[in-house]
């Protein structure tokens, strides 16, 4: 800040209280004074429009190039005899949970094809649920006794042994499984590398093994193989990255062969997970991806809307400017000029 001392000569008279000139204290800082003139408004809207519409088109195009197939199966896999008693069907150990769906591929899908299960009305973001885990215990073998936040799924009922992994999230692990059969192709499901690498590396320990899991009276969901460390239990890792909203998808695996049009695929579902109790639906999703991920027409549409509205506004402003022009800085618009004798 350049200081121009207007009183350059150090005066001999007694201390002058004259303030020293600084741009700061005289409020004279150089500043850009943007005025939102119609020119600016129209230009801004035009630029936004011109910029956003192509991005929107690209995004939409990418999203449209994604092939997606969704099957709801919670209803289809419920035997009609249990239609009014779904809960007892799913809780019973004796009923046959296997169900087969036939699917004719409608569009060609290029590998890798991702398989998701989608749940709704499932509050993974409920406060009680979100916090019901212990990250320390998950990544550190020594901390298997850390059971903070895990209640009530913290210890075994009888022996008071710590449960690893503890908490409601792990306890309610999704346990439907899918197999895909086709006549001429081998559709193995690759379940590796379905979790985020950072979770696998740092949040789940490679020396932490499941212990006493699902050993209490009430079984919430899947059981874990106690010989595989948590860092390899990718289904668990995926499940434990709690979803943000009550409708969510989780990655189940991927099929690494292309599916041709009219391929007949038999989907064998083990319908184990109980969503009947709270009225949640289960879906199975096949999806390919692009650079921006799965099918997501919303982003592209939003871009198009913002860009389109911008162009619309730009045109409207131009029209308004023509129809009802206001000369820039016209003093007759000043309030005290508009109604004379303003001070009253």
């Amino acid at each position: 800040m350049d200081i121009k001392d207007e009183e350059s000569a150090p005066s001999s008279k007694k201390a002058s209280k004259k303030p020293i000139y600084t741009q700061f204290s005289q409020q004279d800082l150089p500043a850009w004074k943007p005025i939102l003139t119609p020119g600016w408004v129209i230009a801004t809207f035009s630029v936004v429009g011109i910029l956003y519409i192509p991005i929107g088109l690209l995004t939409l195009f990418a999203s449209e190039s994604v092939e997606e197939a969704i099957f709801r199966y919670d209803d289809r896999c419920l035997p009609p005899s249990y239609a009014h008693n779904a809960n007892s069907y799913i809780q019973s150990d004796d009923t046959n949970k296997t169900c087969t769906i036939k699917w004719t591929v409608e569009h060609e899908m290029e590998a890798p094809i991702y398989i998701y299960y989608q749940l709704d009305n499932y509050y993974q973001n409920h406060r009680r649920y979100v916090k019901s885990r212990n990250d320390m215990q998950l990544r550190n073998k020594a901390a298997e006794g850390d059971l903070g936040n895990c209640f009530p799924e913290d210890k075994t009922t009888d022996t008071n042994q710590p449960i690893v992994p503890c908490g409601l999230i792990a306890w309610s692990l999704f346990n439907d499984t899918y197999r895909f059969l086709t006549s001429n192709k081998d559709l193995t499901v690759n379940k590796k590398n379905i979790a985020w690498g950072s979770d696998q590396r740092s949040k789940f320990g490679s020396n932490v093994y499941p212990k006493n899991f699902q050993s209490r009276d009430l079984i919430g969901g899947a059981k874990l193989n106690e010989s595989i460390p948590l860092s390899q239990q990718e289904d668990l890792i995926v499940w434990m990255r709690s979803a943000a909203l009550p409708t969510f998808r989780k990655l189940y695996g991927k099929i690494e062969t292309d599916l041709e049009m009219n391929d007949e695929i038999e989907i064998v579902i083990e319908n184990n997970y109980n969503t009947y109790l709270f009225g949640g639906r289960k879906r199975l999703v096949f999806s390919t991806t692009t650079l921006i991920g799965g099918k997501n027409p919303f982003v592209g549409t939003a871009y198009l809307i913002v860009g389109g509205l911008s162009l619309f506004c730009a045109i409207t402003f131009i029209l308004l400017y023509v129809i009802k022009p206001r000369p820039l800085g016209d003093p007759s618009y000043l309030s005290w000029n508009r109604n004379p004798g303003g001070i009253k």
């Binding site: 002058s16 209280k17 004259k18 303030p19 204290s25 409020q27 004279d28 800082l29 150089p30 500043a31 004074k33 005025i35 119609p38 890798p112 991702y114 499932y122 509050y123 973001n125 409920h126 406060r127 009680r128 320390m136 936040n149 209640f151 009530p152 799924e153 409601l168 309610s172 979790a195 950072s198 979770d199 949040k203 995926v238 990255r241 943000a244 909203l245 009550p246 969510f248 998808r249 990655l251 109790l277 999806s287 921006i292 991920g293 799965g294 997501n296 919303f298 982003v299 939003a302 871009y303 913002v306 402003f317 009802k324 800085g329 003093p331 618009y333 309030s335 004798g341 303003g342 001070i343």
Partner: protein, 1093 residues
């Protein structure tokens, strides 16, 4: 306070001992020296002047500048020396301490006699001793019991109106918070259900109460508390801290250091004594100003005169200057080289100086004019008898100015003896000749407020008898001789008087009359008779004077300028254009006050004036009867009648569109009754409709009452400005109190919120600093409101998706640092640097200030608009981010979790909210860029670090690696481009439409001056206008003055009685006279002076 450490002489053991004021006790006998202040309320015992008389100046109490006389009781005259004074033994009985400055009742018991005491013997604290070597007095009241302190009020703690409105906003936010929590809690109580088995809500064990479906009411309550902590961000706690910081810097760095408000003559910068009220300065609607010392300099200067129908004096009054400037002319202040500069004399016209008057058309009239000035007065010369060194002691500065004028015209009055006046006359017989002439003074017909004139009968050395008379135009004109020449002069002089009067000058008419010795002798006999009569002497003297003061010949008139402070009329004009109404509250008498109102352009002849005065014949008549109860009742009725009449008239004008502007003049006594609760509403209605209001003869307490009437009754924002102790209570009563600093007195400054050196700095303080502060604080408050509401609402929308469980959307740290780091600094920068228009434009277009008076920028409407955009933006943030949540986010098909989504949303919020700030800025400095960029950068730095580490502590690692996960996806960047644009879209449309179709005034001004470089240099603004020669400018300015047949001729002369003043010198006993303070206060026998029709 240092004032109480001043030293004063106290009588101890027959000696004067110096002790500090604070040690004074009731009953002490003290000595006060000339020009000293009285440390307490004193009873005057003795004075070095004969007759126990002393002169005091009461300017600190009532603003009056002429000296007052106090006279000790005859019994105590002798106690002048310490030896004698120590013999004084007596008892004083007096009233309880009270705040009435003009009354005192008590008795002095001395030598077994009971002597009644009157205000005549009382010296009040705050006054000072003049023209008296020293006095001896007894302390009656000290400290807080003194009358001046009883007039003071408790120091109120002041908060700005905007802050009080802010409290209401905060309350609204609390209500909103409660509503949101209530909705959430109800939802929670409904939601909890055993069917959600994965939540284990059936657990009846400990710690499950919060979501126990069997006790939904408890769920409701507990969720309520959870949600209150969750949504607490809606309350902008850091707002108060930020505002305090902003205001502190505004006052210490901007106001205190403004070069435009630095007064170099007194070396005084402006001083903000509180930082609470900066933005209040931007909303002031009423200014209450003291007169003496604030508007005027307390300096009378001989300015112009009219002699024999010719106007002399080239001076341009401030008001003329202002008018000329308004009409685009620049008046050159070139004084002719030979202009005499002296205190009391500001007259420049070569035609009269150095004997040049001999060449004027009427040299004889000029001669009489000067002689009248030199002879007809009651001034005492003091010091060496040379024109340079002599000092004149006059009871009023007006008188001194006239004698000084005579001196400069070459009629040097240098000596007064009891019977003669000696004048050294130059150029009388021929150019260059100087001669000493001694005029024998035969009679003095003294000035009083009934007569409004003063005459002297003198005998020339050659035996000629002449009566010189000066006085108000009304009384002089009545007594002029008829005659053709005289008539012509009368007519012309009348016009001149009106001209002077409308320029705010104080006028006097001069006249003379030659007396035939026989006529004089017979009159003188009657005079002596009257003088020696024992009862009704005054009345008889007046009657006798009437006999000789007739058939006068008009010489001309004088015009004295009650010197205004620099730039006052211009400043007042500016402030009035800014929509501020200015009231003058003064202790001075009505004529003086009206004069100043004219001089300041507060009143002009085009205005309809309402005068409510207690000096009417009817009131005087009742007062003469002396029944207090009846007086009170009568005056009250009278005031009520007047008020009603004025109000009706005012309303009739108000309804007609082009009615004249209104002005109200009211005196203290009427005000006392008008402030009565039953009449207050009427007074308020009337005065609020008036363009300007002048209250005269008001006590300090009344000043405060008037101020609070407007403050509380009309709920307008008030500002009081004053310089003396008598203004303290008014300064404290107003929303904003301004003290004039740089003078001797500090009381006003100590009580004030801001101190400035000159009245004219008010324009800078209000129009520049006040307006900016108001704008800035409004922006800060609204922006805080917006950013916290937006942030909290995203959280609120999330609550609906979580089964109303009260799950946090954002990480704890995000939430805490949002206000402290990510959005804190830019808004402070706006609070410091935002400028809509430059300071010079602020003053050039004072009308901009009206936006503050109307509170345009912090109305509920504005809040509602911002709330609307908050809701809109928060919906965009939440739903844009969550709607796209379902599908895969990268080509590896992976899905985001809760914390990815929330971090994504938070990033969008931080960026948008900071960009939104740039959109409200009128001027963007590099600090804006730095702070806005810095805030966004701070968020990224924070999240990079925060999500990059995992701690060994037992905590949830929710955010671990989240930002890296986000940034590894294309989706993140696409959203980052989309969401802020979509969120700000509506705001931008609104701003564009608002500016184009409903522009604020400041926006038009911005556009008008868009191409100008900002540093216009403030002085440059004054340069606009054509260059005219001084003569042209003057004649133009004068021609612009209201020419309508004026009724105001500007008489406002006051002088103490001749006899009492000179009693000492003449060795003649004169009883205390009627004009003293006590009498003035009771306002008796003061006739109405003819300003009215």
């Amino acid at each position: 306070m240092s004032i109480n450490n001043n030293m004063i002489d106290v009588l101890q053991d027959q000696k004067w001992e110096s002790i500090p004021w604070k040690k004074l006790q009731v009953g002490d006998i003290i000595k006060v020296k000339q020009d000293g202040f009285f440390p307490a309320d004193l009873l005057l015992l003795a004075s070095t002047n004969a007759d126990g008389v002393c002169y005091i100046e009461t300017a600190n109490l009532d603003g009056e500048t002429n000296l007052k006389i106090r006279k000790a009781l005859e019994k105590t005259w002798d106690y002048v020396t310490p030896e004698k004074a120590s013999e004084f033994k007596g008892e004083i009985q007096c009233e309880q301490p009270n705040n009435s400055l003009y009354t005192f009742t008590g008795n002095l018991l001395i030598q077994k006699q009971t002597l009644p005491l009157s205000p005549n013997q009382i010296l009040l604290r705050g006054c000072s001793l003049r023209n008296t070597e020293y006095i001896v007095g007894v302390v009656i009241f000290t400290g807080h019991e003194t009358k001046v302190m009883m007039n003071a009020m408790n120091v109120p703690s002041k908060r700005s109106t905007l802050e009080r409105k802010l409290d209401k906003l905060i309350l609204t936010l609390f209500a909103t918070l409660f509503m949101m929590c209530f909705i959430g809690a109800i939802g929670s109580a409904i939601f909890v259900n055993k069917k959600y088995f994965y939540l284990h809500l059936d657990s009846s064990e400990k710690g499950s109460a919060q979501f126990n479906p069997r006790n939904r009411f408890l769920v409701f309550l507990l969720t309520m508390f959870t949600l209150i902590t969750l949504y607490s961000t809606i309350i902008p706690i850091s707002l108060y801290v930020s505002i305090e910081m902003i205001k502190f810097i505004q006052s210490t760095q901007f106001i205190n250091k403004d070069l435009c408000m630095y007064h170099s003559e007194t070396n005084t910068p402006a001083l903000a004594r509180t930082s609470n009220l900066n933005e209040e300065l931007g909303q002031v609607e009423y200014i209450f100003s003291d007169k003496t010392g604030t508007l005027t300099r307390n300096l009378m200067e001989f300015f112009k005169c009219s002699i024999g129908g010719e106007v002399y004096g080239n001076g341009v009054t401030e008001i003329e200057r202002g008018l000329a400037e308004r009409n685009g002319m620049k008046i050159d202040e070139n004084k002719s080289a030979n202009a005499v500069q002296e205190r009391g004399f500001n007259f420049d016209d070569a035609r009269l100086m150095r004997g040049a008057w001999r060449n004027e058309p009427n040299p004889d009239v000029c001669k009489e004019f000067f002689r009248c000035l030199a002879i007809c007065h009651t001034v005492l010369p003091e010091g060496e008898e040379s024109p340079e060194k002599i000092k004149y002691q006059a009871a009023s500065p007006d008188e001194a100015a006239l004698v000084i004028a005579a001196k400069n015209f070459g009629f040097f009055f240098y000596r007064r003896t009891p019977t003669t006046i000696n004048v050294r006359e130059s150029h009388v017989e021929k150019m260059g000749k100087i001669q000493d002439v001694s005029y024998e003074i035969l009679n003095v017909l003294e000035f009083n407020s009934t007569r409004k004139r003063q005459s002297v009968v003198c005998r020339y050395p050659d035996g000629r008898l002449v009566l010189y008379c000066k006085g108000a135009d009304t009384v002089i004109y009545e007594r002029l001789a008829d005659g053709n020449t005289n008539n012509n002069i009368k007519k012309v002089t009348r016009e001149h008087l009106e001209l002077f009067g409308s320029a705010g000058l104080r006028t006097l008419c001069l006249a003379y009359k030659e007396l035939h010795p026989d006529v004089y002798e017979s009159w003188n006999e009657k005079f002596i008779q009257a003088k020696s009569s024992l009862n009704d002497r005054e009345k008889k003297l007046d009657e006798v004077a009437e006999l000789i003061e007739n058939d006068l010949i008009l010489i001309g008139s004088t015009a004295i300028e009650d010197k205004l402070q620099e730039g006052v009329p211009a400043c007042i004009e500016t402030l009035q254009r800014a929509g501020i109404k200015i009231w003058v509250l003064t202790g001075d008498k009505i004529e003086t006050a009206i004069n100043i109102a004219y001089a300041c352009n507060l009143i002009n002849n085009e205005m309809k004036q309402f005068v409510i005065s207690s000096e009417t014949d009817a009131i005087r008549e009742v007062e003469d009867r002396g029944d207090q109860v009846e007086i009170a009742r009568f005056i009250k009725d009278e005031v009520k009648r007047e008020l009603k009449k004025c109000l009706e008239e005012a309303e009739s004008y108000f309804h007609s569109l082009s009615g004249p502007k209104l002005a109200l003049v009211i005196d203290g006594k009427c005000l006392m009754y008008a402030l009565d609760p039953s009449l207050r509403v009427m007074l308020l209605n009337l005065s609020l409709n008036c363009h300007s209001v002048v209250c005269c003869r008001v006590s300090p307490l009344q000043k405060a009452q008037v101020t609070s009437m407007v403050k509380k009754g009309a709920r307008k924002i008030t500002l009081s400005i004053g310089d003396g102790a008598n203004d303290v209570s008014m300064i404290q009563a107003a929303h904003v109190g301004i003290g004039i600093s740089g003078m001797e007195g500090m009381q006003a400054v100590m009580a004030s919120d801001f101190a400035i050196a000159q009245f004219r700095y008010l324009a800078d303080l209000l129009l520049v600093h006040g307006r900016w502060s108001y704008l800035r604080i409004c922006k800060v408050v609204i922006y805080f409101f917006y950013k916290n509401l937006t942030f909290t609402l995203t959280q609120f929308w999330f609550t609906f998706q979580t089964g109303f469980s009260g799950q946090r959307f954002y990480d704890d740290w995000f939430q805490s640092l949002y206000n402290v780091i990510f959005t804190a600094l830019p808004v402070i920068i706006v609070g410091l640097f935002d400028k809509d228009v430059s300071s010079s434009l602020s003053k050039k277009y004072p009308e901009l200030y009206m936006e503050g008076i109307k509170n345009v920028f912090f109305k509920w409407k504005v809040v509602a608009i911002w709330a609307f955009f908050s809701v809109y933006q928060s919906l965009i943030f939440f739903y844009f981010v969550s709607t796209t949540n379902l599908s895969a986010k990268n080509s590896a098909g992976k899905i985001f979790g809760l914390w990815d989504v929330s971090t994504m949303a938070f990033t969008c919020v931080v960026i948008t909210v900071n960009l939104r700030l740039l959109m409200i800025c009128n001027s963007i400095t590099r600090w804006h860029y730095i702070s806005v960029g810095g805030s966004i950068l701070a968020w990224f730095i924070f999240i990079f670090i925060y999500s990059g580490i995992s701690t060994p502590y037992d905590r949830q690692e929710n955010i671990y690696f989240v930002i890296y996960v986000l940034m590894s996806t294309f989706y993140f960047y696409i959203m980052l481009l989309l969401v802020p644009a979509a969120a700000l879209f509506c705001d931008f449309v609104y701003q564009g439409v608002q500016r184009w179709f409903f522009p604020y005034d400041y926006q038009i001004i911005q556009e008008m001056h868009r191409d100008e470089v900002d540093n216009t240099g403030r002085a440059q603004l004054l340069e606009v206008g054509n260059q005219l020669t001084p003569a042209e400018a003057r004649s133009y300015a004068i021609s612009q003055l209201p020419r309508e047949l004026s009724k105001h001729t500007g008489f406002a002369f006051d002088s103490p009685g001749y006899e009492s003043f000179f009693a000492a010198q003449l060795g003649v006993y004169a009883p205390p006279k009627a004009w003293d303070v006590a009498r003035r206060a009771s306002m008796r026998s003061k006739p109405k002076i003819g300003h009215k029709k």
